[in-house]
Symmetry: C2
Subunit: 251 residues, 2 copies
């Protein structure tokens, strides 16, 4: 069976020179994913990458302004890749509830049997995203980079999810938060299951199939609970008790 070759459109502002157009560019993408996975983002450097691919630092700077931009490129690739996989899976699916299930599955799994990228290893990239993906936008320069459109692919992905939520519950009050929460919670719980198991209900297990099934149930429950709960009356927010009682402790 021939696989579909994926060529994703990535925001040109993330790179100086389009890496997919040359051999060295492709080598940069392929090996940066492997090296970031091995070393972690902070210990990864252009020098180490240059040594690994028998090139030079200055050559790498011809493709990406710095390692952060390269990281942003990879994240954009991941978000586009995930959106594409969702699109492919949703072809011919009419039922919105089935759509949501397929979306959740896609957020948990990184691989896709029928589609394939020539140089980026999606499974390794997914590991990176789970471990340090949020670093792409959690820093001082978000606003500038947001103006460059660095997070458009992420927003598009979330929009796609929130549209399905709205299909399921036309008047849902919080589709955007629910969408981004599903994406973030999927990654967080995969990470927690591996490193901080007390923060998740995924059973401590080695088998990734079982972990993914657990997580599917968790996310599905979270999403469908919110979708089915059409309680539209706002809740009393301000606390009535306490405040004065705390003063007792002031003695």
């Amino acid at each position: 069976m021939k696989k579909i070759e994926i060529n994703l459109h990535i925001n040109p502002k993330t790179y100086v020179k389009n890496p997919v157009t040359t051999d060295l560019g492709k080598k940069i993408l392929e090996n940066s994913v492997i090296l970031i996975d091995e070393l972690g983002l902070e210990d990864f450097s252009f020098r180490k990458l240059a040594i690994r691919i028998s090139s030079t630092e200055s050559s790498l700077y011809r493709y990406f302004e710095n390692k952060h931009y390269l990281f942003i490129y990879l994240l954009n690739w991941y978000w586009e890749w995930t959106s594409t996989r969702i699109d492919l899976k949703l072809i011919n699916v009419k039922e919105p509830e089935e759509k949501l299930k397929l979306i959740i599955r896609t957020l948990i799994d990184s691989s896709m049997k029928n589609a394939d990228s020539p140089f980026i290893d999606e499974e390794i990239l997914h590991r990176i995203v789970v471990r340090e993906g949020t670093k792409a936008y959690h820093h001082k320069l978000v606003d500038t980079e947001n103006e460059y459109g660095f997070f458009l692919s992420y927003k598009t992905l979330c929009k796609k999810i929130s549209d399905v939520i709205i299909e399921l519950s036309h008047n849902h009050q919080y589709p955007k938060t629910l969408a981004s929460t599903l994406v973030e919670t999927a990654n967080n719980n995969l990470y927690f299951a591996k490193h901080l198991p007390r923060l998740t209900d995924i059973k401590e297990e080695k088998d990734p199939e079982v972990i993914n099934d657990d997580l599917f149930q968790i996310l599905h429950h979270l999403a469908m609970s919110s979708i089915k709960n059409r309680n539209e009356n706002q809740v009393e927010n301000k606390p009535k008790v306490n405040g004065n009682k705390i003063e007792l402790l002031n003695l």
Copy 2:
């Protein structure tokens, strides 16, 4: 009105010498919070901090092994501080639903009228936590640092929340994930509201009171939906459709 002076217990493995025992130590805590807020974690350095407080790099290294450990210290302080605030607020509260509301409020707000820390500015620290708090555990050395107990305070905080969830719904299947999701979603949505508004349903607003009220409703809805949904039958996970249909695209 006299405020309660807070002195929190922080894991001694995070520091070389306990910073609260000396003047320089307190200055380090106070000013690192301010400087990290100003510069962001990556641009913050011991050199810059030393200059700011008219000390030297080598002096700072007597308190913290490196800036990451100092960051971990601050995060632990925040988690302990949040746990303490929850404890104080829940005194004399019997109703579990009221407890959950107070917890959500505490996760959103950083300040507390009745309690106060002498050197760490909790509002600035909260801003740091919202922007880059997850960096504390999203890196290559989590497992080692987890063994040192660097994340115990975070786990304790989540445990506290999940206990209330269990109080509300004795047989809830996913209290741990729901607890950590509430904490993470609170921070994420505060961040999104400021920088990536399309990822949240918080209305674009300048008034922090309105933002916090919006977020309260969102988190309350998310939590109570899941708690009230006692649908215990597992959902069919594997997709039945597609798979073969995708092959049509292989031409």
